[in-house]
Assembly symmetry: C3
Homo-oligomer: 221 residues x 3
């Protein structure tokens, strides 16, 4: 169950306490949470995290198996959510509390900043090993956030990065103890929460124009 709660300027989006895969219902809940945040008028920043062992484990492959005819529309919807987070008109940070795999590692990448628990959990793009190549939109999302070498190491190897490895790999900005994770993430965006939303949104839309278009364009294809 997804929840969003505001504490001062920090809006914490909790993806749930299970594997938190992107089921259609969870996507609806995430969209509603973002709607609520965007409808607010006060200074705000988005902090996305999960409870327990997982940040989020990616696409809901059980649901996909049961609805093969709907896969394209489902994947397109995931990409639209990624594009929305990428260009959200408030500062954003992912507090990666546990495993972040595939599409949910992409959700983390779509945030402005990322902090990861240092002792447990992996940040991983398993696409090369599960034989599902990145779509052009997903490719564009990842490469708009990483250097060429970082993109190579993350995208061509299927490597699972623990927190300590994810920092030099450029996947996250910092790794902390579990206890310090949320505070460290909030510290990265609290002072930025008052930026004018229209301006910040336009700047992000321009900065990430190609990736957002690729994510949304794949969605239309």
């Amino acid at each position: 169950m997804v929840s969003i709660t505001a504490d001062g300027p920090i809006w914490t989006l909790d993806l749930g306490e299970d594997e938190n895969r992107f089921s259609p219902d969870r996507l609806t809940e995430i969209e509603s949470a973002l709607d609520e945040l965007e409808a607010s008028g006060e200074p705000a920043a988005l902090l996305t995290t999960g409870t327990g062992k997982f940040f989020s484990n990616g696409l809901d492959l059980d649901w996909v198996s049961a609805h093969p005819d709907e896969f394209e529309a489902y994947a397109a919807r995931v990409q639209v959510v990624l594009a929305r987070v990428l260009t959200l008109p408030v500062p954003t940070v992912a507090a990666v509390n546990g495993h972040a795999f595939g599409a949910c590692a992409m959700l983390a990448i779509a945030h402005d900043y990322r902090v990861m628990r240092e002792d447990r959990g992996f940040f991983c793009f398993p696409e090369v090993d599960i034989q599902i190549p990145f779509t052009p939109g997903m490719d564009a999302l990842i490469t708009t956030k990483l250097t060429p070498r970082q993109a190579r190491d993350a995208m061509l190897t299927g490597r699972r990065f623990g927190g300590a490895d994810a920092v030099p790999a450029g996947l996250v900005d910092a790794a902390t103890s579990q206890d310090a994770l949320i505070a460290a993430a909030a510290d990265l965006v609290r002072d930025l929460a008052g930026k004018d939303r229209a301006t910040l949104g336009t700047i992000k839309a321009t900065l990430y124009a190609d990736a957002a278009a690729a994510l949304r364009g794949d969605a239309r294809a």
Copy 2:
């Protein structure tokens, strides 16, 4: 008052001793200085700096307020100057002697190299705080010179980077004492001043093709 003076291969473009904002007159003086440099035939490198507290403080907002109907043409002209410096067929370095804000931080970014005084002055893109989003051309100029993380830190925060912070942020190549600034900047380009201009100009025009087109395309829009 802008001046350009050659000492051996080093052509020093001094933007002035005031705030050195991009007034139309100053733009004309800069263009004339670049014309003079480009008309010369000997080995040459451009070193751009200012005198006193400011490198340059950005657009001439007083002039803009007095000439609201001319803003678009004025902004387009600024972008053409940025594109020209970006692809100038000689090595270029900015010696950032003091504050470099907004469009003038972009002028510094357009040079091949940047050195900054370490003890005073800020390098800053204030766009997010003054509620003037980057144009597509300005966005392309900055992102063609920085890594994705550096672009995020410079463009989404409005942060003012002192010399010591600007080096790890990738905004400048080095920070030095005020006394050593000009010599350090000249050292970066002196040995490159003899490169064949047609070749170097073509290489830069290709390397920065997208950003130059965006700057000039915005100019035409």
Copy 3:
């Protein structure tokens, strides 16, 4: 004389023991070697190296001088080989045993990884000094692998990077003694050799789509 030999998953492509310039015959031999590797079905990785003083010294300028009418077709063919290596559906590493200049430095850059001998040999893009600007395809190849600052340092200066300098310059992943070179290169790709080729090939084709298209597009021009 080019040779390719498989030892377990490591396919070693030896460019020869001379200057190993890209003569049309050597290009044919390289293409045949890649054909052989691609026709194999077992886990495989490509390790490209040379024997002696040179990795490869670039275009075959003697042949070009003798066949001026064929230069365009020849250059186009070189670019197609570069695009093929860039998107080869197996992991690739260049073991730079000696001088790598111009088009052959590009061949090394086209590999996923690069290791270089630390005590002798230079990695160099001499284009700015020999007055042959990078084509758009070559520009795209280099910039898809380097950060903006690394691209500037490699492409605008003509600097010759020894192994120790090439690591911080981002041109190679590591520098080793001559004796350790091949083993260090093989270690980078051995564990990746079993990736599904169709998946890895598609991921690379997407990741490097713009550069491959520019290389092949120049080829068609």
